[in-house]
């Protein structure tokens, strides 16, 4: 495939990633949101293959792509689905910030992300014009999800979306990021969601609810 063709596909992937951001912001059904984030993870796994610079070792690219697919696309969504079924909740009923305001804020974030990435030009030869903007708007979406949702699973989803955004940014650097660090980052993410899943399980058992609003005994 020609380089131009690959660039077009990558462009489509970036657009899809941002669209999934919006979908997750707007969806109240946890199952749909988990699936969307899984799809986002799987899409991200494509990016190393599409954007790999020539000098990068092919094994490195394949390992990064496969690692991302396993952790972000399969293992973590599966764990979250388990936590959701275990706690038998399926909906985010009353988010702290409503769905329409969060969409508006999300849109604002995308605009700011594009503005920011335009003011800070990449010091490297440009690899893809949408990369930084996609990354930053996904990070912003993740932050928004964490602070605006009450259900623990939704907050973990937000954390995951945030990490997805950071991952996109990391693709700019994959030609000099040691594989050990990349593997460490993915493993940490996996372990983080694993620990969060266990804590969610305990929250459900203790409070018979996954609502983090119940977690309000501690204050000054």
């Amino acid at each position: 495939m020609s380089a131009l063709r690959l660039a077009t596909i990558a462009e489509t992937v970036f657009i899809l990633v941002v669209m999934i951001d919006f979908f997750v912001l707007a969806s109240s059904r946890l199952k749909a949101a988990i699936r969307a984030v899984a799809a986002q993870g799987a899409l991200l796994a494509l990016l190393p293959l599409l954007l790999a610079p020539q000098e990068l070792h092919v094994l490195h690219v394949l390992a990064l792509s496969l690692g991302a697919l396993l952790v972000k696309g399969i293992a973590i969504p599966w764990m979250l689905g388990w936590a959701m079924r275990e706690a038998s909740v399926s909906r985010e009923v009353e988010p702290v910030v409503g769905y329409v305001p969060s969409l508006v804020l999300g849109g604002l974030g995308v605009m700011l992300a594009f503005a920011f990435s335009a003011t800070l030009p990449l010091p490297t030869p440009e690899r893809h014009p949408y990369l930084v903007a996609t990354s930053l708007s996904t990070v912003w979406t993740g932050m928004l999800l964490v602070v605006s949702r009450k259900k623990a699973v939704s907050q973990v989803l937000g954390f995951l979306v945030l990490e997805n955004g950071v991952f996109v940014f990391g693709l700019l650097l994959s030609d000099f990021m040691p594989w050990m660090v990349e593997a460490g980052v993915l493993l940490d993410l996996f372990a983080a969601v694993f620990v969060m899943g266990i804590v969610i399980f305990h929250i459900h058992r203790t409070f018979s609810s996954m609502d983090t609003e119940k977690l309000s005994a501690l204050r000054d």
Partner: protein, 475 residues
């Protein structure tokens, strides 16, 4: 060098595998003793560095020594504590602590900012389940908040680390995240990206350190965690985050963004001290009081780094002092908590009488932490103050003095209320009598802090100066 990382890790794996609840605390002690011996060995003979990954430099030495001493005391304290708590399964607790020790050692030795990040995230993941040791609703809430807030913060630090990597990919840049290469590249780094990186890294590692206004997890986590975990969090994990920020500052300084970065640290440091004032005065929970004291001392460290130069050396000295004294306070507070069964200041009186060892230790720890002579923190705070006044930061110095004075009074009224008076009529839990098993470790830490105050070995003085030289600032 790898030994101080691999040894605790191995014992940690063993602790997870070992079926005996009774034998596990011994593994903890073995890990701590082995680690301390390994660190002593490393100080005498740094050995071969692993280029680009692990190397023992001056800032790393300070943090490694702090962590090792504190961990040794905590592991000794854990022997009696875990025996008294044999009703609880301690597999995760002991295993997690040993993994924490390994991760903290990696942070101290790491020369690669990516590896540093991975290790810092491991410290979050391995301590969060330990906060839930008591298995009640409150500790669960604290664990969740700690896990979520710190993971979020550290995720932003990862983005900042990536920004820094991108800055290094500018023409002529080293295209790497190895500290030495980044510092050597200096002006070749892309400055706008270095500045953006600093903002994200300050927010990320600042969250982990517990600087205001990113401290929200701290009172909850320290309040609900067992005392010995509180000691390790407030003296060890926060020192690791402090070191991470010092490393970042080192790169920013080399890239010509030092003034901007130091200014930001100074403002956040003073803000943390101010916030600690507000929340310590009138605090009704003595463990949460210690958490706000930790916010204050992280603020002091940030101010020290922000002023730089002589104050920077003071900051590294203070990191060591803070680790030792926080150990004294949290371990003694843990003993008081167990004896009374409550953390409410209104229900606790007469700790001096009921706990003839831990009560006085708590009181002495209070004097030490608020900077009363002749304990170590007095001298490190003095060094920071002198640095501030000496380099034209008079306003910051004056605010520093005012905040520490208010905190002294606020903490004093709480601590005196806890230790003085007649314990008659206060709640009491049976079988929690004071003993050397739980008093000797904090006493040893207190003695160390006293020695550092009375006589600072010249080699240590040089070490702090060398550590401070890496982060720069006017001498």
């Amino acid at each position: 060098m790898l030994l101080v990382v691999l040894f605790p890790l191995l014992l940690g794996a063993l602790a997870f595998a070992l079926p005996s609840r009774r034998a596990r605390p011994l593994l903890l002690l073995a890990g701590a003793v082995g680690h301390a011996a390994g660190v002593a060995w490393l100080f005498a003979d740094p050995g071969e560095a692993i280029p680009g990954w692990l190397e023992l430099d001056a800032p790393g030495k300070v943090v490694l020594a702090t962590v090792s001493a504190l961990f040794l005391a905590s592991a000794a304290y854990a022997q009696r504590y875990l025996r008294l708590r044999e009703d609880r399964e301690n597999r995760v607790f002991v295993g997690g602590l040993l993994v924490l020790l390994a991760a903290l050692s990696v942070v101290a030795l790491s020369q690669h900012l990516g590896l540093l990040w991975v290790a810092i995230e491991v410290t979050t993941l391995t301590t969060a389940p330990l906060i839930y040791f008591d298995r009640d609703a409150r500790s669960l809430e604290a664990a969740w908040k700690y896990l979520l807030v710190c993971s979020l913060g550290v995720a932003l630090a990862l983005l900042g680390t990536f920004f820094l990597a991108l800055a290094s990919a500018a023409p002529g840049g080293p295209r790497s995240l190895v500290l030495r290469e980044l510092v050597a590249a200096g002006p070749a780094l892309s400055r706008p990206w270095v500045r953006a990186a600093f903002v994200f890294l300050l927010v990320g590692y600042g969250t982990k350190m517990g600087l205001a206004p990113l401290h929200s997890w701290k009172p909850d986590a320290y309040g609900e965690a067992p005392g010995l975990l509180g000691a390790l969090l407030s003296g060890g994990v926060t020192s690791a985050a402090f070191l991470a920020l010092a490393r970042v500052l080192q790169v920013c300084g080399a890239a010509g963004e030092g003034d901007f970065s130091r200014q930001a640290l100074l403002v956040m440091g003073l803000l943390s001290m101010a916030l600690a004032c507000v929340f310590i005065v009138g605090q009704r929970d003595y463990k949460r009081m210690l958490a706000y004291s930790s916010v204050e001392h992280m603020g002091i460290l940030a101010v020290g780094l922000g002023v730089g130069g002589a104050a920077g050396a003071g900051a590294f000295f203070h990191a060591l002092n803070n680790g030792l004294v926080k150990g004294v306070l949290f371990l003694a507070a843990g003993s008081i908590h167990r004896s009374y069964g409550t953390k409410r200041v209104d229900e606790v009186r007469g700790a001096l009488r009921r706990l003839p060892l831990s009560g006085p230790l708590f009181l002495a720890g209070f004097f030490a932490v608020t900077g009363a002579p002749p304990f170590g923190p007095f001298f490190s705070e003095l060094a920071i103050l002198q640095g501030a006044f000496g380099s034209g930061h008079a306003v910051a110095g004056a605010l520093f003095l005012a905040f520490t004075a208010v905190i002294f009074v606020g903490m004093g009224s709480i601590v005196l209320g806890v230790v003085q008076g007649d314990p008659e009529g206060c709640p009491e839990r049976p079988g929690q009598a004071d003993g050397w098993g739980n008093a000797a470790p904090p006493l040893a830490l207190l003695a160390a802090s006293l020695v550092l105050g009375l006589w600072l070995p010249p080699s240590l003085r040089d070490l702090f100066a060398a550590a401070s030289a890496t982060v720069g600032g006017r001498p």
